[in-house]
Symmetry: C2
Subunit: 255 residues, 2 copies
DNA sequence: CCAAAAGTGTTACCTATACACCCATGA
DNA sequence: TCATGGGTGTATAGGTAACACTTTTGG
């Protein structure tokens, strides 16, 4: 699983009918519809080595915003639902398969793109660290730390900020942190996820209790060996996304 | 302000390029983009007279689903943002001006509409009771109780259910109940809103304290006269939507 | 004076938090 | 044995829910 696909092949500026754009055509045409995704994964910080939030971006290889980094995205095919389109685009542009995928927001401001009116339906996703590690970077696909991003193409900085807010909000309430971890994990690893995402330390004792009482996890019986100290128990995630979500998720067919 | 506009003038089935639909054209065309809105208002229940949740629907005057009731909606004009389009459509079809308007979800399932692929960006709104009372019903525009709706066109039952969930969720946390009331109101009226929307009784004493400590309201100094008992204080809403929302709302320009 | 809603006070309970403490392991 | 993170116990504070009680009006 590598990140070697050509970036920007499906630009947000794609002309829906393969005709050149000019002013009169622009007014006659309906707004173009695009799907983009904000993808979060945990990777070790360069400095501390502690897990931090990263996201993959693709480089724009054509105008507008040529050379700038942007969210992976592409067109909506006739034969796929919005959610399927997001998953496929994510696969096409970054090679990643998400462990969690949810609609974020529809962005449709008039001046998001200089040349053409574009409505972007944006999803956000979480991928497991094994995925994120295997994903090789290329000239036009690169991972960035989620905080302190440089200026991105279009309104993508704003979109990432909103996705970050949503991730933090969901994590503070629902049991979604597990989607950033692998099959099995220690309670300390879950705590590290919370600390990385919410950017504050948490009491290990209380954190453990709260996790175990809201359930959604069970001990595997195994212990993580190889550490310097007492080997911690390994746990497994037992919930499913449908149950987790506080929302009566719009059904997959209609998303 | 009346509800006399022709209903269904802008159907979700509108052909973007005024050409008749057939199979090959359908595959060639991008999905149509529509804006719809779920509008909530308080009206007295027929039976008890206590305030309950209602919403206005428009009758379909063409296929598909001709004769069924549907959410007010229409096309997205080139010159307006998504939020502006929702507000204008709401005005055009029902004559109402919302006191609160927020994006709900983008519905884009493959089979939402039998003849054509349609992606609907749905908003939800609250209007004040003065607005809702003045709004005259017509042959093709009618108010319905939000609970126990009959079968609607398209996937609109599902959309209403999701909007109801969102309304209840927001009301349980944020201070948005005021948008269903008029300029001034008593604490008992606010409580009635909560009881109507959340469908459970609340202790008047505790409710009062919780409201007053989270602020967002101030006494006007006036008292509501004409009741049978001790006249209650009148209050005024002091917050604004931007502050209320727990989310860093995507800016109006990009919505 | 009585009924009923407005408004205040008090108490029990629940849960988040802080932190003292023991346990198990590598070095 | 010591250092360190894993894991448990416990006291305290803050907030919610339940409900007794006083106040103020119309009839």
């Amino acid at each position: 699983m590598t990140l070697t696909k050509e970036a920007g092949r499906y630009g947000m500026e794609r002309q829906p009918f393969a005709s050149a754009a000019n002013v009169s055509e622009r007014l006659a045409q309906p707004p173009a519809l695009a799907i983009s995704t904000v993808i979060f994964a945990l990777r070790p910080s360069e400095a501390s080595g502690r897990p931090t939030l990263w996201l993959p971006l693709v480089r724009r290889i054509r105008e507008p915003f040529q050379g700038l980094w942007a969210l992976p995205g592409g067109p909506l095919t006739q034969a796929e639902s919005l959610q399927d389109a997001a998953a496929r685009n994510l696969q096409d542009t970054t090679g990643l398969a998400p462990s969690y995928l949810e609609q974020l927001y529809a962005f449709g401001g008039l001046h998001r793109s200089p040349s053409q009116r574009v409505v972007s339906i944006v999803y956000w996703a979480m991928v497991q660290p094994t995925e994120a590690e295997m994903a090789q970077e290329s000239e036009n696909v690169k991972w960035f730390r989620a905080d302190g991003l440089e200026t991105l193409a279009f309104d993508h900085n704003q979109i990432v900020d909103y996705a970050l807010w949503r991730l933090r909000n969901k994590m503070a309430y629902g049991p979604i942190a597990y989607h950033l971890l692998g099959e099995t994990f220690t309670l300390a690893q879950v705590r590290e996820v919370y600390e990385a995402v919410l950017d504050r330390t948490m009491d290990p004792a209380n954190f453990r209790r709260q996790l175990k009482q809201t359930a959604h996890i069970e001990p595997t019986g195994e212990y993580l060996q190889g550490g310097k100290h007492r080997p911690p128990r390994l746990y497994r995630y037992t919930g499913n996304i449908a149950e987790d979500s506080p929302a009566p998720h719009p059904r997959a067919d209609n998303a």
